[in-house]
Amino acid sequence: MALHQFLLKMWSLFRRRSMRREFAEELEFHQSLLREKLSREGVPEAELDTATSRRFGNGQRWHERLTELWRFQMLENFFRDLGFSSRLLRKSPGFTLVALSTLALGVGANTAVFSLINGLLLRPLPVPHAEQLAVLRIEEGGPEPNYEFCAPLFRGLEDRHEVFADVFAFNSDVLQVKGRSGNENIEGMLVSGQFFRALQTPPLLGRYLTPADDRRGGNPEGFAVVISEHFWEKWFARAPDVVGRKLTIANTPFTVAGVMPKRFIGADPTRNPEIYAPLSADPVIDAPRNHIEDGIHAWWLTVGARLQPGVTLDQANASLATVSLPILHQASSDADWISGEEKGHFHFLAEPGSKGFTFARLLFRKPLEAMFFMCLGILLLACLNLASLLMARGAVRERELATRLAIGASRQRLIQQLLGESLLIAVLGTAAGIAVAPLVSKSLATLLMSGPMGWHLNTSLDVRVFGFAACATVTAALLIGLVPALQATAGDVTEHIKDKQHAGKLNRRGIWPRVLLASEVGLALVLVFGAGLLATSLARLYRSGLGFNSRGLANIAFSMDKQPLEGDALVRLYQSLDDGLRQQPGVRNVSFEFIVPLSGRGWDNEFAASGAQLQRLFLNSVGPEYFATMDIPVFAGREFTWADEKASGGKITLNQSAAKLLFPGESALGRQIVDREKHSYEVVAVVGDAKYRNMRTPAPPEGYIPMQQDEQKKLSLSAVVRTDGPVNALALPARALAARLAPTIPAPVVTSVEDELKDSLSTERMMAVLSSFFAVCALLVTGIGLYGTLSYATARRTSEIGIRMALGAQRGRVMAMIFRENGLVAAIGTTAGTAAALMASKALASFLYGTSPFDPWVLVGSVTVLTVIASGASLLPALRAARIEPMAAIRCE
């Protein structure tokens, strides 16, 4: 019925004029019949017209009533309100600017962070029936769930089809693909036989990889690969005959079997592989490493599965529980390992996998959630601020609204109109926020995910993001509009109209404005305190020192694993690279290292002084003059030299912590230590401690071994170069040098250690930067809110203040009176905010370095800053009030 009515009304919209004519005709017809009837009843001709119109009434009025019936009352009122509201907003551009920009900030920040969360945590994989996918993990009694599998365990699972239609594994890898100018590093993925079948995405061209490709040595014709549409475009210019062509990967020919469409990204949402190669090609692709042969010592695979239709996750887990132990026993003959795992109640567990799997999720979930709550805080703050400003404005319009109520406007109608205004602000502000959100989220994603892991995050807008933004808009509009609207129309009608002076009536206006302002102050304090904690923690992290000097230090990574030289010949190649790099302008020192500090990678072994207990040391292989290059102090002994070869006997340099650990209270220099395999090393130097895996962990005990004595055959090292010039300037010479000395290796990657350092702190930095930004905004918004409401209130009291002054009130007293209005609100807000901040800060504890979540100095600092802002915002209106000229003020009423 409602639809019928709507359609009829819509129809009438298009035929307004003929509708009006029909109304007139219908009424006229009735009138004429009435007239005839009256005439039949004997009314004289002269009186007929008056009698008819007396009986019929005012034709014009009936006409209007009919027209009204056929109109969209609500809609037309709404448009009228909108027009009225936009006129009002245009009249006070300052208010409008503040309103729109705070809201845009709140909504923009929220949408940006939400699209990050969406990209990382919510968006399902773009494959058919993603809900049937599962991710497998191993429970073995450790504190953290383990998502890394070794090949034997995966192969044991692969053929269990009782509950799974397909079980697959994958591993992101960098492939060395031969291009026109030597080998290039290309992002790729090793995938098991059922990978593509499980993901059910048909190839664009050719075929995808099947279990027949995932055999030792590949399918009968050799190894096959599937490439991405992007790679097809870049390397083959979309050649239609690409299927069957050869690609040389790791110096081995691979046949292109098919092309996957753009939308297909595999099962890791943060990866975008260009080439998919079979898992069993690992010995070729990762040579000289061989993860498959390493068996239970290489945990390198992510395992997923597609459930059989109709099978639930619980059923799958029940089935996995029964096969876990048999697979474990099959995986290895290492009895120690098996019994260790059995003690930890080893079993496989399937969890929902519609969103695929990425390690980035484990790392970034908590920081993103923390940031999301911060954003919600700022949005709430923006809304509270707008509500209080609108309320103050509503107070100015109080009399107008009261008058309208008195002459018959319904309360509902007035609320509608006031809501229209806030809806307009909300829609415009949100639109502005959403417009900038993609840009913000993209840069946040880059800030967060920059670094050695090479994660991509798709933060594009989708249905979920728009839905979120729409919810945010509506909630904001209601929050902003309803309180002031109810407030402004609540009063007693006659009170408002009588009440001309408003003298001393501030109390009467109720508790609402003060509650809003106080919660604003409290919320701002929470945000400022949180930001203070994060910033302090970051500063302490930086100040904690690295143990080496990162300024002017470059890393040049050489991939030597696929070139022909090894052993001493490779050392000589490194020596020539060393010479070549030293000749570059600005270069002061050059050395080599295996583990790049702070890259997250690590290598360790156990060592003992003779007769003493084994101690765990972290290790690195380094070149000559390493400590001079890194600016690590050498406390005793000497640097390594090119003469420290294998033949000259094992050498090791200990850092201070390691020396203390192995030789407590003695000098370590010249002593011998042995490792677990009974190799012995002479301690040739003791050097300063330096951070190893990341900045958060203090420098561990560490040993350095000469690079010539490293047991890996084809050691890929990074050159560390201390330069006076810009780090980027080294990229071209390094490439030229590599092309001349080792023509088959991919172009070396040059990075600045300063940048890497920043990357390793990306989470901390982003949280500190964002929270500080939010804190500044919160302070600004709160200041504006306090200032705005107080100056509206003061403006309304101009005449009252004038009278007070005329009666002899001191200017100082007047100032204090106005100032006190906000003082109380700020004090209450600060107290409540402190309590809330101390409760909320616990959630930040895990992000803090060397900083307590209850750090008293940060708290005192936050309260001080807020007090200064609040005082400043209250002082201006107070000063203005004190400058009121009594006579002028009284006269203006």
Binding site: M1, H4, K9, F29, G57, W62
Partner: protein
């Protein structure tokens, strides 16, 4: 709305009466008013100012259809006709009214 001779208003009954009138076949507005007046033996007088808004409201709600046609004396007039929905509503209203008036009569008769 509908005015009884005593001048009191019977709330909400006009629409029911219009439906009843049109239950006999298509009519224009004037005829509806006449029929109600005559059938009630001049007890119920329909005000024009209420009649047309009521007719249009019923039309908007889909209970009536309207069509232009020729009147008895060959003039263009707007004829209203019950829709299927309107017939259903008429039956429902008639039953409700019968129950209501019987109940009221019963209450008033008790001594």
């Amino acid at each position: 709305m509908v005015r009884e001779e005593s001048g009191e208003l019977i709330q909400g009954t006009l629409e029911m009466l219009i439906l009843k009138a049109l239950g006999r076949g298509p009519m224009h507005g004037y005829a509806v008013a006449e029929w109600i007046e005559q059938t009630s033996q001049q007890v119920l007088k329909v005000e024009e100012g209420a009649l047309y808004p009521a007719l249009h409201r019923l039309q908007l709600r889909g209970l009536l259809n309207a069509e232009w046609g020729a009147s008895e004396n060959n003039r263009r007039a707007k004829y209203y006709k019950l829709t299927a929905e309107g017939k259903k509503r008429l039956n429902a209203e008639a039953q409700r009214w019968a129950r209501l008036s019987a109940a009221v009569a019963f209450v008033m008769q008790t001594s």
